[in-house]
Protein backbone atom coordinates (compact mmCIF):
# COMPACT_ATOMS: atom_id res chain seq x y z
CA UNK A 1 0.00 0.00 0.00
CA UNK A 2 1.39 3.32 -1.06
CA UNK A 3 0.91 6.79 0.31
CA UNK A 4 -0.60 9.60 -1.72
CA UNK A 5 0.76 13.08 -2.15
CA UNK A 6 -2.46 14.35 -0.52
CA UNK A 7 -1.88 12.23 2.58
CA UNK A 8 1.65 13.55 2.96
CA UNK A 9 0.47 17.11 2.48
CA UNK A 10 -2.40 16.88 4.94
CA UNK A 11 -0.23 15.24 7.63
CA UNK A 12 2.30 18.04 7.30
CA UNK A 13 -0.41 20.70 7.27
CA UNK A 14 -2.05 19.46 10.44
CA UNK A 15 1.18 18.99 12.37
CA UNK A 16 3.38 21.87 11.25
CA UNK A 17 0.80 24.45 10.09
CA UNK A 18 2.98 25.61 7.20
CA UNK A 19 2.57 28.99 5.54
CA UNK A 20 3.79 27.39 2.32
CA UNK A 21 3.99 23.76 1.33
CA UNK A 22 4.74 21.91 -1.84
CA UNK A 23 4.77 18.14 -2.08
CA UNK A 24 5.91 16.60 -5.32
CA UNK A 25 5.42 12.94 -6.11
CA UNK A 26 8.74 11.80 -7.53
CA UNK A 27 7.93 8.11 -7.72
CA UNK A 28 7.02 8.06 -11.37
CA UNK A 29 4.45 5.43 -10.48
CA UNK A 30 6.79 2.83 -8.95
CA UNK A 31 6.09 3.58 -5.30
CA UNK A 32 5.79 6.34 -2.75
CA UNK A 33 8.61 8.79 -3.21
CA UNK A 34 8.22 12.47 -2.44
CA UNK A 35 9.96 15.77 -2.48
CA UNK A 36 8.89 18.29 0.15
CA UNK A 37 9.31 22.02 0.36
CA UNK A 38 7.91 23.49 3.57
CA UNK A 39 7.82 26.88 5.28
CA UNK A 40 6.67 27.05 8.89
CA UNK A 41 7.00 29.29 11.92
CA UNK A 42 7.59 26.14 13.94
CA UNK A 43 11.12 26.01 12.47
CA UNK A 44 12.05 29.28 14.14
CA UNK A 45 15.22 28.90 16.21
CA UNK A 46 15.74 25.28 15.12
CA UNK A 47 18.74 23.87 13.30
CA UNK A 48 18.33 22.06 9.99
CA UNK A 49 18.66 18.60 11.56
CA UNK A 50 15.96 19.47 14.07
CA UNK A 51 13.67 20.80 11.33
CA UNK A 52 14.07 17.64 9.28
CA UNK A 53 13.36 15.57 12.39
CA UNK A 54 10.11 17.52 12.81
CA UNK A 55 9.10 16.74 9.23
CA UNK A 56 10.01 13.08 9.65
CA UNK A 57 8.13 13.05 12.95
CA UNK A 58 5.02 14.47 11.33
CA UNK A 59 5.14 11.63 8.82
CA UNK A 60 5.82 8.72 11.17
CA UNK A 61 2.83 6.73 9.91
CA UNK A 62 3.38 7.59 6.26
CA UNK A 63 7.12 6.84 6.44
CA UNK A 64 6.29 3.16 6.90
CA UNK A 65 5.16 3.12 3.28
CA UNK A 66 7.33 5.87 1.86
CA UNK A 67 10.37 4.65 -0.02
CA UNK A 68 12.15 7.96 -0.34
CA UNK A 69 11.54 11.37 1.13
CA UNK A 70 13.57 14.36 0.13
CA UNK A 71 13.20 17.56 2.13
CA UNK A 72 14.55 20.18 -0.24
CA UNK A 73 13.52 23.17 1.85
CA UNK A 74 12.59 23.56 5.52
CA UNK A 75 12.50 27.29 6.10
CA UNK A 76 11.02 29.85 8.46
CA UNK A 77 8.69 32.43 6.86
CA UNK A 78 11.45 35.07 7.17
CA UNK A 79 14.00 32.88 5.39
CA UNK A 80 11.44 32.06 2.74
CA UNK A 81 10.72 35.77 2.10
CA UNK A 82 14.42 36.50 1.74
CA UNK A 83 14.81 33.64 -0.72
CA UNK A 84 11.83 34.84 -2.71
CA UNK A 85 13.27 38.35 -2.91
CA UNK A 86 16.69 37.03 -3.86
CA UNK A 87 15.33 34.99 -6.71
CA UNK A 88 13.23 37.97 -7.84
CA UNK A 89 16.20 40.34 -7.87
CA UNK A 90 18.62 37.82 -9.34
CA UNK A 91 16.72 37.95 -12.61
CA UNK A 92 18.70 39.78 -15.26
CA UNK A 93 17.56 43.39 -15.40
CA UNK A 94 15.17 43.94 -18.21
CA UNK A 95 16.44 46.28 -20.82
CA UNK A 96 14.03 49.00 -21.67
CA UNK A 97 14.41 51.17 -24.69
Amino acid sequence: MGVSKEQVESALRSKLSPSHIEVIDTSGGCGASFQVEIVSEEFEGKRLLERHRMVNGALVEEMKDIHALSITKALTPDQWNIKQQESATSQPPSTTT
Binding site: L48, L49, H52, N56, M63, A68, I71
Partner: protein, 114 residues
Protein backbone atom coordinates in the same frame (compact mmCIF):
# COMPACT_ATOMS: atom_id res chain seq x y z
CA UNK B 1 9.21 -11.41 6.33
CA UNK B 2 9.95 -10.96 10.01
CA UNK B 3 9.82 -7.54 11.57
CA UNK B 4 12.33 -6.49 14.10
CA UNK B 5 10.56 -5.07 17.15
CA UNK B 6 12.50 -3.32 19.88
CA UNK B 7 15.56 -3.54 17.71
CA UNK B 8 17.64 -1.28 19.89
CA UNK B 9 18.41 -3.38 22.97
CA UNK B 10 21.16 -2.23 25.38
CA UNK B 11 23.66 -4.62 23.83
CA UNK B 12 23.08 -3.30 20.32
CA UNK B 13 23.21 0.26 21.60
CA UNK B 14 26.66 -0.35 23.09
CA UNK B 15 27.79 -1.84 19.80
CA UNK B 16 26.46 1.16 17.86
CA UNK B 17 28.19 3.56 20.26
CA UNK B 18 31.41 1.86 19.24
CA UNK B 19 30.66 1.69 15.53
CA UNK B 20 29.71 5.36 15.11
CA UNK B 21 32.88 6.45 16.88
CA UNK B 22 35.14 3.96 15.09
CA UNK B 23 35.98 6.54 12.42
CA UNK B 24 35.91 10.33 12.33
CA UNK B 25 33.62 10.20 9.35
CA UNK B 26 31.40 7.20 8.85
CA UNK B 27 28.57 6.77 6.41
CA UNK B 28 25.89 4.13 6.79
CA UNK B 29 24.57 3.60 3.32
CA UNK B 30 22.92 1.35 0.79
CA UNK B 31 25.83 -0.34 -0.96
CA UNK B 32 29.47 0.54 -0.63
CA UNK B 33 31.44 3.65 -1.54
CA UNK B 34 32.64 1.91 -4.69
CA UNK B 35 29.23 0.53 -5.53
CA UNK B 36 26.41 2.64 -4.09
CA UNK B 37 23.03 1.02 -4.59
CA UNK B 38 20.88 4.11 -4.20
CA UNK B 39 21.08 7.61 -5.61
CA UNK B 40 20.84 9.29 -2.20
CA UNK B 41 23.72 7.24 -0.84
CA UNK B 42 25.72 7.92 -3.97
CA UNK B 43 25.21 11.68 -3.56
CA UNK B 44 26.71 11.67 -0.08
CA UNK B 45 29.65 9.50 -1.20
CA UNK B 46 30.38 11.98 -4.00
CA UNK B 47 30.23 14.91 -1.57
CA UNK B 48 32.63 13.22 0.87
CA UNK B 49 34.96 12.37 -2.01
CA UNK B 50 35.04 15.96 -3.20
CA UNK B 51 35.54 17.20 0.38
CA UNK B 52 38.70 15.13 0.26
CA UNK B 53 38.50 13.58 3.72
CA UNK B 54 39.04 9.97 4.71
CA UNK B 55 35.74 8.25 5.41
CA UNK B 56 34.43 4.79 6.05
CA UNK B 57 31.21 3.33 4.71
CA UNK B 58 29.07 0.52 6.07
CA UNK B 59 26.55 -1.25 3.90
CA UNK B 60 23.31 -1.48 5.85
CA UNK B 61 21.83 -3.78 3.20
CA UNK B 62 24.16 -6.48 4.57
CA UNK B 63 22.86 -6.31 8.12
CA UNK B 64 19.17 -6.03 8.92
CA UNK B 65 19.74 -5.69 12.66
CA UNK B 66 22.15 -2.83 12.15
CA UNK B 67 19.71 -1.22 9.75
CA UNK B 68 16.78 -1.32 12.17
CA UNK B 69 18.91 -0.48 15.19
CA UNK B 70 20.45 2.58 13.57
CA UNK B 71 17.07 4.03 12.66
CA UNK B 72 16.21 4.14 16.34
CA UNK B 73 19.69 5.07 17.49
CA UNK B 74 19.84 8.08 15.17
CA UNK B 75 16.12 8.76 15.39
CA UNK B 76 16.26 8.97 11.64
CA UNK B 77 14.04 6.85 9.42
CA UNK B 78 16.09 6.58 6.24
CA UNK B 79 19.53 5.92 4.79
CA UNK B 80 22.16 7.20 4.14
CA UNK B 81 23.10 8.40 7.63
CA UNK B 82 26.26 10.40 8.09
CA UNK B 83 28.14 10.48 11.40
CA UNK B 84 30.93 12.94 12.05
CA UNK B 85 33.01 12.66 15.22
CA UNK B 86 30.56 10.20 16.69
CA UNK B 87 27.60 12.49 16.19
CA UNK B 88 24.74 12.08 13.79
CA UNK B 89 24.98 14.82 11.19
CA UNK B 90 22.08 14.06 8.87
CA UNK B 91 20.81 12.33 5.80
CA UNK B 92 21.27 13.20 2.16
CA UNK B 93 19.36 16.51 2.02
CA UNK B 94 21.05 17.95 5.10
CA UNK B 95 24.47 16.93 3.79
CA UNK B 96 23.78 18.52 0.41
CA UNK B 97 22.56 21.73 2.06
CA UNK B 98 25.56 21.89 4.42
CA UNK B 99 27.93 21.20 1.54
CA UNK B 100 26.51 24.10 -0.45
CA UNK B 101 26.73 26.48 2.49
CA UNK B 102 30.30 25.47 3.37
CA UNK B 103 29.21 24.32 6.82
CA UNK B 104 30.12 20.70 6.09
CA UNK B 105 33.67 21.46 5.01
CA UNK B 106 34.14 23.51 8.15
CA UNK B 107 32.91 20.71 10.36
CA UNK B 108 35.00 18.10 8.54
CA UNK B 109 38.11 20.17 8.95
CA UNK B 110 37.39 20.59 12.62
CA UNK B 111 36.77 16.86 13.00
CA UNK B 112 39.98 15.75 11.36
CA UNK B 113 42.04 18.20 13.40
CA UNK B 114 40.61 17.22 16.76
Amino acid sequence: STRCFAALNPELKTTLDKVVTSHKVILFMKGTKDFPQCGFSNTVVQILRSANVPFETINILDNEMLRQGLKEYSQWPTFPQLYIDGEFFGGCDITVEAYKSGELQELLEKASLS
